[in-house]
């Protein structure tokens, strides 16, 4: 379908596609098997300027457009959602810095994130705070010129790999969500370590670890924005990040769809109406997911005020389609679909995370429903 890409968007799409096919495709199976971080690929992507798309122009980026991010995430995930996750998080971690950090912090970090010199991660989730984000137990106690951080962050993408971490911690337990603050923590700081390295079903090349803070002294100038605003920053950042997460799901679905087309053509199955029906559904749903992501991304980029609902749409639907398409791919390819060399089994394993991370799809449904309820002015009668 025609999406009326700008020239810049077309160039970006082609460039990412080329890098993904040239660099990631030949080694994606090995990356998955070894579950090793794709360092060389990320370095090459940085060199090609692909990390700049996440950063505003005044800090060495190309404008931090959600549309660019969506295009890039889809193209990378079409080949490997693990690399796409490492890539997206590496820059998405910078989201809160872009929008909520001080000028000084922005100048210090953003140009280096744009160039790939510094790589990011976002430390929010904890063992008892998954969907219930506000339930975090990590504390930041103010002591003179420092905040003392204590606690453990769980399932952190790019943990131990990233140089810069945006970390959420409670500065005032009595205030609950309103007592959560955001900090920029650099790797190497005393009292900041990495714990368990997770062994996952999919996106295995993306590194997932615990962040462990034990009396970690973070300089007070590393507080981002205001104390107590961390939860709000996080929610607003989610709104911006969701089309990118949806685009990872979309890329997986697209990859699986292409694999199915290739397989069914080679096995001479395309005359079969059962297969035709499945392929038509896949193509339709993938295109619908893409249109939804682009519409959400363009709305956010245009500065439309409340984008919570389109953002959740753009994560919920494409990730469900990723799951459906990959499950159907296995069904169509039959026992061949189970085999590594046909790649759809990896895509299926990768697809599953897109329904979970960056807010489970149940959380997305809840958000969408709440927005709708608010829009119609519904109040529950007792």
């Amino acid at each position: 379908m025609e999406y009326f890409f700008t020239d810049e968007e077309k160039i970006l799409k082609e460039k990412v596609c080329k890098i993904a096919e040239e660099m990631i495709l030949p080694i994606r199976d090995e990356l998955d098997k070894k579950a090793e971080f794709p360092r060389e690929i990320i370095e090459r992507m940085a060199k090609e300027g692909l990390l700049r798309i996440f950063i505003p122009t005044e800090y060495g980026g190309t404008g931090a457009k959600i549309m660019d991010m969506s295009i890039a995430c889809e193209e990378v995930a079409r080949i490997c959602a693990g690399v796409a996750t490492a890539y997206a998080v590496g820059a998405l971690g910078s989201g809160p810095i872009i929008y909520f950090a001080s000028e000084e912090q922005k100048k210090k970090y953003l140009p280096k994130i744009a160039s790939g010199e510094l790589f990011c991660a976002f430390g929010l989730t904890e063992a008892q705070a998954g969907s219930d984000v506000a339930n975090i137990k990590t504390t930041a106690r103010k002591e003179g010129d420092y905040y003392i951080l204590n606690g453990v962050k769980q399932f952190i993408s790019n943990g131990s790999i990233a140089d810069v971490y945006v970390v959420l911690a409670s500065t005032d337990k009595s205030r609950g969500a309103r007592g959560i603050s955001a900090f920029i923590v650099e790797k190497g700081l005393a009292g900041f370590d990495f714990g368990k390295h997770e062994n996952k079903l999919g996106i295995r090349t993306s590194t997932t670890t615990e962040l462990v803070f034990s009396d970690c002294k973070v300089p007070k100038e590393n507080l981002m924005g205001k104390e107590g605003m961390g939860f709000i920053y996080t929610m607003r950042n989610f709104d911006r990040a969701r089309p990118g997460v949806g685009a990872i799901g979309l890329g997986v679905a697209q990859g699986a769809y292409e694999a199915v087309l290739k397989f069914t053509a080679e096995k001479n199955l395309l005359g079969n109406q059962y297969i035709q029906g499945k392929i038509a559904d896949m193509a339709t749903e993938i295109e619908a997911a893409r249109a939804l992501i682009y519409a959400a991304a363009r709305s956010i980029d245009a500065g439309i005020k409340n984008t919570t609902k389109p953002a959740s749409f753009s994560k919920l639907f494409p990730s469900d389609i990723a799951m459906k398409t990959t499950l159907d791919a296995i069904e169509i390819m039959g026992p061949y679909g189970l085999l590594r060399e046909y790649n759809v089994e990896k895509m299926l394993r990768d697809a599953k995370i897109t329904q979970i991370y960056e807010g489970t799809n149940q959380i997305q449904r809840g958000q969408i429903a709440l927005e709708i309820i608010r829009e119609i002015g519904y109040k529950r009668s007792e």
Partner: protein
């Protein structure tokens, strides 16, 4: 579903064995791809490896309901072990018992019942073979990436199209010019010992043809229908275990100051699981009863396979969803059930074939 006294006794025995013995190393065997030979030997002592073999050949000729009960119970704990048993009993021994010559029955069945040999089966959909030959023997070249029970090094059944006719061949374990290798190439059922099998100018004598004449189509049809029930039982066990794990976790996991089992969107998933499982179980044992009564059960078997294939895909996906991020980690069993489910929902016959079979029987 009401079972006979004997079936309930067997169910309790197998359930206990699965819980006390199989469960112990299920995680280790999956992660390291270890074939659970000791457990299989113990199951042989319990008679389970002779389930489809007549007493005259030292088997115990279990009724289909009881056999599916065993597969369901074992699959709940270890789908790989259930796949090993389904392959041996239903894909290997059963067709020999029904279609094999007396020589073949004497050669394979008593040792299969005793567990001295563990029979295998080459997945038909992935056969990539070139066959030439004369009146007395065939020469096979090519490979199949999915040989079930390949690691066990027993004889296996291979379906081969020879001069436009489908033939069921029994290939002996030490036939020259056959190589097997385990490549950890399959998404799930890592403990079930799936290997690749390659034939390099492998000469197969016509004595290896199952039965007296090459009635491969008929044999295959029978195998597929019985296999549909077996894979439905494996699917059902996986679904039941997925649901039980999801419920247990949802009751323990507290978010927003409440166990997540209290939340409607979680309850929705659990209710859907329970409904599918109940329907699957009723359909499956009903089909098994039809088979045990000696009637044609192929339509019912195709329906339950198709239905349970859809169910197992949805339920294992949702079981991970209930666990959230934890479900995606290899520390929790729902990750393994999800991978194993993919294998049990595509082997031996496809949804398309089964839909075709269903329609052909009702129109």
């Amino acid at each position: 579903m009401e079972f006979s006294k004997e079936t309930i006794l067997l169910q309790n025995e197998i359930r206990k064995f699965a819980k006390d013995v199989i469960a112990e190393k299920v995680d280790e065997f999956d992660k390291q791809g270890i074939f659970p030979i000791e457990n299989i030997k113990k199951l042989a002592q319990m008679g389970i490896l002779g389930a489809t073999i007549p007493e005259s050949f030292s088997g115990c000729a279990l009724d289909t309901v009881s056999l599916l009960v065993c597969l369901e119970e074992i699959s709940k704990v270890c789908p790989s072990t259930a796949l090993i048993l389904a392959t041996h009993n239903i894909l290997f021994s059963s067709p020999i018992a029904k279609f094999g010559s007396d020589t073949q029955k004497n050669k394979y069945l008593p040792s299969a019942a005793a567990g001295e040999i563990i029979g295998g089966f080459a997945e038909m959909a992935t056969n990539e073979l070139k066959i030439s030959g004369n009146l007395d023997s065939w020469i096979i070249n090519g490979k199949n990436p999915i040989l079930l029970n390949g690691v066990a090094n027993g004889p296996f059944i291979l379906f081969a199209e020879i001069k436009g006719r489908l033939n069921a061949l029994i290939i002996d374990e030490n036939t020259p010019n056959i190589t097997k290798d385990k490549k950890d190439n399959v998404i799930g059922m890592h403990a079930s010992g799936i290997t690749q099998v390659a034939f390099d100018n492998c000469i197969i004598s016509k004595q290896n043809l199952m039965g007296s004449d090459s009635n491969g189509e008929k044999i295959l049809e029978e195998i597929k229908s019985f296999a549909n029930l077996a894979f439905a039982a494996i699917n059902l066990g996986i679904c039941q275990a997925g649901m039980e794990n999801a419920i247990k976790y949802a009751k323990e996991r507290v978010q927003f100051s409440e166990p997540i089992i209290n939340f409607g969107m979680v309850r929705e998933m659990i209710a859907d699981m329970a409904t599918k499982i109940e329907a699957m179980r009723l359909l499956m044992y009903d089909s098994a009863n039809i088979k045990d009564s000696g009637k044609d059960f192929s339509r019912e078997a195709a329906i339950v396979r198709y239905f349970s294939n859809q169910g197992v895909a949805k339920i294992t996906t949702d079981a991970i969803q209930v666990y959230g991020g934890y479900g995606y980690m290899k520390d929790y069993p729902v990750e393994r059930y999800f991978r194993d489910a993919q294998v049990s929902r595509v082997l031996c016959s496809s949804n398309i074939e089964n839909k075709e079979l269903i329609v052909s029987r009702i129109t």
